[in-house]
Symmetry: C2
Subunit: 398 residues, 2 copies
């Protein structure tokens, strides 16, 4: 299916779609979810998040069903749900940092057993045949990965009604093919482990790809000190690199240094920018709001690289001569494959690295999204306590 | 000296300067050059190139004097001379592809002897102490390389009046410190060798840096089929890569394939762009005129790199999400160091690789610049026959 069935709504960022969820099919079951139900044409805004019923598939071969314990709230949830990128299909159920406990496994499952702790990140399917999938980089699948939310069901490993798009982890349970299941060690602090599945891997994969796990020690800048950036600070400092945190807010310095940064640049202060010009080998730029990349490029040494990681919608203005005269590089990176995601979970477990989180209940999602959109996350990753939310009868579907 | 003595002229691209060249000092001699004498405020244009007298320094320790035989004409000469980048100091003598024969050497010179063929590329000095100079990448000197034209004399190896800026190779002779002298094998076709010193090294250095000399065979795109691009086609095909030439003009296909390309993309043809989408590992983008990089990025495979090599003044519009979703990279590269320049000369000598050139006399420089500015170089590098030009009494200084 190329376009969802429903009402197509023109939007400057790209069309979005209001659809009606069909009743569960015979091979599906009914589950609680917290969703943006539709895009409100009258206000030209998405409606607030509310509890709804969705359908999840019954178990099938190689499928793993798990009850949801925790689900992280990512800035990308808000970008997609608010149609910042276009293409949002409503009802939209966010959440791609799913952490749960296995309740049922299908025939042939070998990776986990009932009772195991498991995680699911941003992907739930890909072709598993192309060169990228074969190279454990399913996120770059040549035939298009199936994302945990807002994706058509393409490659056959996401069961249930093929007419509906994928629903994320703001929900009571989920069912995922074992290839995309991440094993969570029992010893982990699971409410804090959830955000590693997106915020963690998003930093880990480029850290790995750019040679910072085994290679020589570098000066590593981390721009933006939200959920992603603070994970970058923790990883790079644990790996022995000199970490310089970069922020618009001088008042984030203490927090950044507590998490492992030894240097700090305030981008609103010309003296701070000048003092740190040409000092960094690599910058992990986690800023998700629109911003001017030309503020950051001068911080790189000759030959340095800036890795763009945030879901920035507006284009950047890039001066070619600047890239040439100092052989500077702008590149991007997107989450990471299943193998690398397992690797970062195991690394975090071994070194007790966790994001700083704030537990919320589903009824707080609208306020949380607002805080994230306004850049007020302040280094904390919000995580839904799903069990507690399911007990909150005032915010459950009728 | 931070700013040249003379009249500062405001210009939208950055100020330029009209100066009066002083008479030769006692340790200088008078030499013919072809220069833009000044910026004409009445027409808001640089004046046409004309013959003038300039001063060159007498020989000193470690210095090499050579009579000019040939000098290539680079698109960068026109960009600088027309003040496209701001900062042009008039009189401006272009030319940074100098090829000559040694006529005198200073005390201590060991690299060459009188009668040897020599070349000088885009640089005539750098600090030789910083990490980049020590790593044979003088072009990225932390203290700033001294360019062959339009540069203040900073590091002490460019002799002569310290008040004047460097003058390029559109001239009867020059004097350069032996560190920046490239040895030209006697067996080379010297009029065709001159452009290797800029157009050649500009492609060779990133080819080398990105692992295409010894590494696995790749699909290499070359965008822009002027003096730089055609060298890229020749190098990459000689090294065994599959080369796809990329041009706005369908009629350059025959020429590109003659030079070694096996594929061809016409960027004005949506079908050609679509058919070649996602096929290239790396693109060397030699386009020097303003252009939309988003035409070229889709040609890259996931994980591919575009290397920006032309002197494009206008900024590019870059979409972050595109870089992220396919881990694409935009980088730059600037000429190459002395060691790499010697390497490319020796590689070209061994494999008989030469740019296709058109010999001109100095009196044709104004027409040649016009053709380059209008993108009408058509794969040919223009080279001044300096000896013949010096015999053309109608275009010599009074």
């Amino acid at each position: 299916m190329t376009e969802p069935k429903g009402e197509k709504i023109d939007h400057p960022n790209g069309a979005c779609f209001n659809t009606t969820l069909p009743a569960p099919l015979p091979d599906e079951y009914k589950e609680v979810a917290w969703a943006i139900p539709s895009f409100d044409k009258a206000t030209n805004q998405p409606k607030p998040i509310e509890p709804i019923w969705i359908a999840r598939p019954n178990i099938g071969p190689n499928q793993v069903r798990f009850e949801m314990l925790y689900c992280g709230v990512c800035h990308s949830d808000t970008h997609c749900g608010n149609n910042d990128w276009g293409g949002c299909v409503y009802p939209f159920v966010g959440g791609h940092e799913l952490l749960g406990k296995v309740t049922e496994i299908g025939e042939g499952v070998t990776k986990v057993k009932v009772g195991d702790l498991v995680g699911v990140g941003c992907m739930v399917d890909s072709c598993l045949k192309c060169q990228y999938c074969q190279n454990d980089e399913e996120q770059y699948c040549a035939n298009g990965m199936t994302m945990t939310w807002n994706s058509p069901k393409t490659h056959g490993r996401v069961l249930g009604n093929p007419e509906t798009y994928t629903h994320g982890g703001y929900s009571g349970s989920s069912v995922t093919h074992e290839h995309f299941i991440i094993k969570i060690p029992d010893s982990m602090d699971i409410q804090r482990a959830a955000p590693i599945l997106c915020a963690g891997i998003t930093l880990w994969d480029p850290i790995r790809y750019h040679g910072l796990v085994d290679g020589p020690k570098k000066v590593v800048g981390v721009a933006g000190l939200g959920g992603l950036g603070t994970m970058g600070v923790k990883f790079a400092s644990t790996l022995g690199h000199k970490v310089v945190a970069i922020s618009t807010s001088a008042n984030k310095e203490f927090m950044a240094k507590e998490k492992g940064a030894t240097g700090f640049v305030v981008t609103t202060d010309p003296y701070s920018l000048k003092a740190n010009a040409g000092t960094m080998d690599i910058i992990f730029n986690t800023i998700s709001a629109n911003h001017d990349i030309n503020t950051y490029l001068p911080l790189l040494k000759t030959g340095g690289t800036i890795v763009m990681l945030g879901g920035v919608a507006a284009p950047h203005t890039v001066y070619q001569m600047g890239l040439m005269f100092q052989r500077k590089t702008i590149t991007g990176s997107l989450i990471g494959g299943v193998k690398a995601t397992q690797e970062v979970i195991d690394f975090c477990s071994k070194h007790s690295i966790y994001p700083d989180i704030k537990l919320i209940r589903a009824r707080e999602l609208n306020d949380t999204w607002k805080a994230l959109s306004e850049g007020k996350g302040d280094g904390v990753r919000f995580v839904i306590d799903v069990k507690a939310s399911l007990e909150d009868e005032s915010f459950l579907p009728k």
